[in-house]
C-alpha cells in the first residue's frame, strides 16, 4: 500500500480563496459580459434620447440624463439574482458548498465580488450616460460640467445605485432561490411598487428604491416643494444612500440566514 503524500498545507481556506473562486465563476460566464455590456450601452442610449428631447434649460440636466441608468439597473439586478439562483438551477451549488462549506463566508465572498464588479460597471455606465446625454443636448442647451455643484456626486451615486440594486437582487436570489420568482419580486419591488405606493401613500414614496435613485441620488439640487399639496420630501443624498444600502443589507442578511439553515 502506497503512503499518501502531498497532504493539505497548514492553515485553512479563507475569504480570499472563496472570492477568487467567485470571481472566476463570474467572469467565465459569457452571459455576465453580455449583461454588463448591455447595461452600459442601454444607459448611454437612453441618456442620448433624453438629451435630444430636453428643451428646458432650467431643469436639473444632470438628473435628466442620469435617468438613463434606470434600464441598466434592471439588468444588473437580474444579474445579481442569477448569480445566486444560477447556482441552484444548474446544481453548481453542491460543488460550491463542497469547496466552501462555511456558508456565511461563501455568501460574503460572492457579494463582495459581485459588488466590486457591479460598482465598476455601474460607475462606467453612469459616466457614460452623463457624457453621452450631455453631448446630445440641442436647443442651445449646453451640457453640465463635472465641476458644477453636485454633478460629480450625482454621477458617482448613480453608479453606486447599480451596485446596490445588484446586491439587492443577489440577496433576493439567496432568499427565493428560483430565478423567475426572484426576478418577479425584484422588478415588482424596485420598479412597479414605486408608482403604486407613491400614488397611494405619498409619505412613503421617498423611501422607494426608484425614487431614492431618481430623486435623491442622481440629483444635483435639493428637491424644492413648490405646490404644497403635491409636495414629497425626498431624502437627502446621504440618507438615501444609507436607506438603499439598508435594503440590500437586509436582503443579504435574510438570504444568509436562510442559506445557513436550509438544506442545499
Amino acid at each position: 500500500m502506497t503512503v499518501l503524500t502531498g497532504r493539505a498545507p497548514a492553515g485553512h481556506y479563507r475569504f480570499r480563496h472563496v472570492a477568487r473562486m467567485e470571481w472566476i465563476k463570474l467572469r467565465t460566464l459569457r452571459s455576465t459580459w453580455w449583461t454588463l455590456a448591455v447595461t452600459a450601452v442601454a444607459g448611454a442610449a437612453m441618456a442620448i434620447a433624453i438629451g435630444l428631447n430636453t428643451i428646458s434649460k432650467s431643469a436639473d440636466l444632470t438628473n435628466n440624463v442620469l435617468a438613463g441608468v434606470i434600464p441598466g439597473l434592471l439588468l444588473i439586478g437580474v444579474l445579481g439574482v442569477l448569480t445566486m439562483t444560477g447556482e441552484y438551477s444548474s446544481g453548481m451549488i453542491r460543488a460550491t458548498l463542497a469547496a466552501a462549506p462555511r456558508r456565511p463566508l461563501l455568501l460574503a465572498a460572492k457579494a463582495a465580488v459581485f459588488a466590486a464588479a457591479s460598482l465598476a460597471v455601474g460607475e462606467a455606465a453612469s459616466f457614460l450616460a452623463f457624457f453621452a446625454g450631455g453631448a446630445a443636448f440641442r436647443h442651445g442647451i449646453s451640457a453640465p460640467a463635472l465641476s458644477q455643484p453636485g454633478v460629480l456626486r450625482a454621477i458617482l451615486l448613480g453608479g453606486a445605485s447599480y451596485c446596490l440594486i445588484g446586491l439587492l437582487g443577489l440577496g433576493l436570489g439567496a432568499i427565493i432561490r428560483h430565478t423567475a420568482a426572484a426576478i418577479a419580486v425584484l422588478v415588482a419591488g424596485v420598479f412597479l411598487l414605486g408608482p403604486i405606493v407613491g400614488a397611494a401613500a405619498r409619505g412613503l414614496a421617498a423611501y422607494l428604491p426608484v425614487f431614492i435613485i431618481g430623486n435623491s441620488l442622481t440629483t444635483t439640487k435639493p428637491q424644492s416643494c413648490v405646490g404644497a399639496a403635491q409636495c414629497v420630501h425626498f431624502l437627502s443624498p446621504g440618507v438615501a444612500l444609507a436607506v438603499l444600502s439598508l435594503y440590500a443589507a437586509v436582503a443579504l442578511a435574510a438570504g444568509c440566514w436562510l442559506l445557513v439553515r436550509r438544506d442545499a
Binding site: A8, K25, R94, A98
Partner: protein, 258 residues
C-alpha cells in the same frame, strides 16, 4: 476514515435516514448498497454537510465536513453529475474550484487529462453527454487529491469502456490507501468493485460486512442482497420480488430516486 454515528434525517413525515451508524475505512473500496429510495444519496448529502441531520453526525477524518480546513483536499465527492453551470467550460469550472482551496492550477489540466476530457476542456460543459458530465464530476472529486472519496452512482451514464476505466481507477485509488465510498443500486457492479459493503434499506443499516461474508451461505451475492433488502424495500412492484427472478427488483422502482 468516514464515521457515521446515529445519523437521522427526516423530510416532513418521511424518515429518509434512520439512526445510521457505520465506518468507512481506508485502503479498500466500500460499496454503499441499497434499493432506490433507501437513503443512500441522502446519507451522502449528510456526510457532505449539504443537508443538516435531525440527529447524529458524520465525520471525515474526525471533523464534520463544514469544519474541514481545505475541504477539497480532504474529501472529494461526486454526488450528482451536472453539478456545474452549462455555460461554463470544464476548465473554468475546475479552475474556480481549485482557487477556492488554494490548489495549484496545473492540477486542473492533470485531472482533465486523467478523466479523458483534455480535448473538451474549453467547450461549454452544457453540451456534455451524461458520460462526459460524469467524468467532469470525477475530475472535480479528484482535484484536491483527497484521501477520502465519496461517489454516488459513479457508473451512471458511462459506456462499458468508461465503466471499466472507473473500476480500475477506484481500485487503484483505494490501493493507495484512500477511503473510497461508492454507492450503487446495482449489486452486480458493486460485486466487481468493492471489498466491503454497507447495505441499507429504508434508511436503516441492514449489513456492514465484507463481500465474501455476505455472499457466503447464499447462492449468489445478488440472492444475499435480495434476501437482505426484500424485507425493507419501499418501491417493490407487483411483480414478485424474489431471488428466483434476478434483476426483477430493479424494474419496478422509481428511476433516480435513491
Amino acid at each position: 476514515m468516514i464515521e457515521v454515528r446515529n445519523l437521522t434525517k427526516r423530510y416532513g413525515s418521511t424518515l429518509a435516514v434512520d439512526a445510521l451508524s457505520f465506518d468507512v475505512r481506508p485502503g479498500m473500496v466500500t460499496g454503499f448498497l441499497g434499493p432506490n429510495g433507501s437513503g443512500k444519496s441522502t446519507t451522502m448529502r449528510l456526510i457532505m454537510g449539504l443537508d443538516q441531520p435531525n440527529a447524529g453526525q458524520a465525520r471525515i477524518g474526525g471533523r464534520r465536513y463544514r469544519d474541514l480546513h481545505w475541504p477539497l483536499r480532504e474529501a472529494g465527492a461526486l454526488l450528482e453529475a451536472k453539478a456545474f453551470h452549462p455555460g461554463r467550460s470544464a476548465h473554468a469550472y475546475l479552475d474556480a474550484l481549485a482557487a477556492s482551496n488554494g490548489i495549484d492550477r496545473r492540477r486542473v489540466d492533470e485531472v482533465l487529462d486523467l478523466v479523458g476530457l483534455a480535448g473538451a476542456a474549453r467547450k461549454r460543459a452544457g453540451k456534455f453527454s451524461l458520460g462526459m458530465a460524469q467524468r467532469l464530476g470525477i475530475a472535480a472529486a479528484l482535484l484536491g487529491d483527497p484521501p477520502v472519496l465519496l461517489l454516488d452512482e459513479p457508473v451512471n451514464g458511462l459506456d462499458p469502456a468508461g465503466i471499466h476505466w472507473i473500476r480500475d481507477l477506484l481500485r487503484s485509488l483505494a490501493g493507495q490507501g484512500r477511503v473510497v465510498f461508492v454507492s450503487s443500486h446495482l449489486i452486480s457492479e458493486i460485486a466487481l468493485l468493492a471489498e466491503h459493503l454497507v447495505v441499507i434499506g429504508q434508511g436503516r443499516l441492514l449489513a456492514d460486512t465484507s463481500v465474501a461474508e455476505l455472499s457466503a451461505g447464499a447462492a449468489s451475492l445478488e440472492d444475499a442482497f435480495l434476501h437482505l433488502t426484500g424485507v425493507s424495500t419501499d418501491y417493490r412492484g407487483h411483480v414478485a420480488v424474489s431471488g428466483a427472478e434476478p434483476g426483477g427488483w430493479i424494474t419496478q422502482r422509481k428511476e433516480g430516486s435513491s
